[in-house]
Amino acid sequence: MAQKTYRDAIREALREEMLRDENVLIMGEEVGVWGGTYAVTRGLYGEFGDKRILDTPIAEEAIVGTAVGAAMGGLRPVAELMTINFSLVAMDQIVNNAAKIHAMFGSQARVPLVIRTPAGWGQLAATHSQSFEAWFAHVPGLIVVMPSTPYDAKGLLKTAIRSDNPVMFIEHARLYGVKGEVPDGEYTLPFGVSDIKRPGRDVTIVSYSRMLHVALSAADELAKTGIECEVIDLRTLRPLDMAPVYDSVEKTHRVLILEEDWTTCGMGAEIAARISHDRFDLLDVPVERMGQIEVPMPYARNLEALMFPDEKSVAQKVMEMVA
């Protein structure tokens, strides 16, 4: 099997789906001539031209609103928001239009739309380093995907483009260069199926996106001390597949949730609530959450480094849980 980067896997999914269905088009800031600020759409403009790769002005409400209208009108737009931070400008279009139109008009209209956007950070400071997946996962009518590997990203993006529902497809700037196995043939992956990325029996770590990799590194570290973590990748945040998490808690009785988002009202809060409701009798220690420190992201490199859980702090937390 071929090793490909997360970026290339996403580009492959876009390209294959554009070849498969002429109604698929891409629109967003710098997706065409520039080739995408994260180079995800590089080369597509040359191949498909300006009728299918649409450069837009810097106006997210227009990008998303226009994509919603185009989706209602029979196309399958993939709208790129340069980063998830700019989704705030389009919040009304995402929440009040994309997510509502099917229900509000009694299923008369559909919005087969994908909004691709990366979370991520890198000394970008307070307004450009955020992670809003929990906000979107809060909204009925949206599907929220946040893949951690090239394989998952490609398979889930193809499913998203073929879906008749609006999908928030949240990538991660720091994963674009990450390599992984991606088969050459055609494949898709279903929404709402969590994936066990590493089996273990002592502690269940639930995560997704970049933090999943932190969880795996910590699990490697802990394995040296004889502690075996089961690492579960949610992949889709709405719908949320808890079944593998529950199966895991049957064995481990301990759950740690790792998210890059702030933990207050975050994905971890939801997952913890579901575990305590559905599997209360299985817990041996309180469900733990780790996420971003709850302050606006500082610019200084040393301060930024303190913002997120890392292999060490995760390993430390797990040690405390098994003590």
Binding site: K224, G226, H253, F280, D281, D284, Q316, M319, E320, V322
Partner: protein, 407 residues
Amino acid sequence: MPTDVIMPSLGFDMTEGLLARWLKNEGDPVVKGQAIAEIETEKATVEIEATVSGLLARIVVQAGETVPVGTLIGVIAEAGVEPTAVSSPAPTAPPSSPPPSPAAPAPPAPVPEAGEGAAPSEARVKASPVARKMAEEAGLDLSRIKGTGPGGRVVERDVQAAIATGSTPAAPGVPAGPAPGATVPLNRMRKTIARRMAESKTTAPHFYVTVEINMDDAMKMREQLNGVAPEGERISVSDMVVAAAARTLVRFPALNASYREDNLEMHPQVNIGIAVALEDGLIPPVLRDADKKPLKRIAAESRALADRARTNKLRSDDLWGGTFTVSNLGMFDVDEFIAIINPPEAAILAVGAVTRRPVAAAGEVRIASLMKTTLSVDHRVADGAQAGRFLQEFKKLLENPVTLLTG
């Protein structure tokens, strides 16, 4: 950065201490605030707590040694750092499942010593949900298990250890009593029972009437019915008693009534409460319109009620609107007993075991199946004669049980 553990000073006059025992082995993970060793002075035995989380990398002073205050007794290394880096062997691979967590401390035996994890001083023993469930299933008393989790919480490994060391679980079906000498706070159900029974005995003037019933025909009929019935549809003695009592009540409405401030409230329905013993109390779920239901249906419904009561799945409907209660202790070989009325009802029927005893009939002695029942009645509602006639009718029904078969 490794952290030194030293022999602490426990008072201005303390110069040395005895390391009584280590609670952690070399290589064990430790959590800040967790007890890692016990030391003894002339005055007391105290626990030393870890000041940081990590691994107990080295034990410097062995159990049994006495050393001056300030002496290095052990080293805690940061987690994630190879313990070998602190010159101590890495822990061996964890045992295969089902293990307590890897590198768990030696299982502490449940210690029923006074003052040491015995009688809980709080209303609720601190235990994790899984430990609670496991202890319940094993019939272990949580308050007698020493918790090694954070803040003394009883966790899964503690219960596993208790099971492994063969703490005798209580006999099945009988809740393990609290530890001798302990003060145990009442749970909500016990508080309710206490309040209502006291109220009943102090406000309702009880009198009691007992009758002995020949159950030969009833037992024979039951045997015939159960001989062809599948497991789940068998009829119990209680079912026959409930059916007979309900049919009798229709003819004695005064006993299917409630006393209300100088009025009698006559109930339009006959709803029989069936007392069900639970591990921590007693609850009388209600079988509605029992007078109109054939025996088979009474059997099915009362079985369902008892199941729901035992699995804590009773609905509010199951507990509401009872007009008369039947309590049977026959399964415990009780010959006869007297029950306290379940307010605001007017009467309760206490049922003893069916036993084979000699009876004199038609000038000869033979062995028969006999059952004693005692009716407790609220004298404000009814008198002895009514109670007597009620029992007479009730006895007649059970001694000619065929009528119970129809609704």
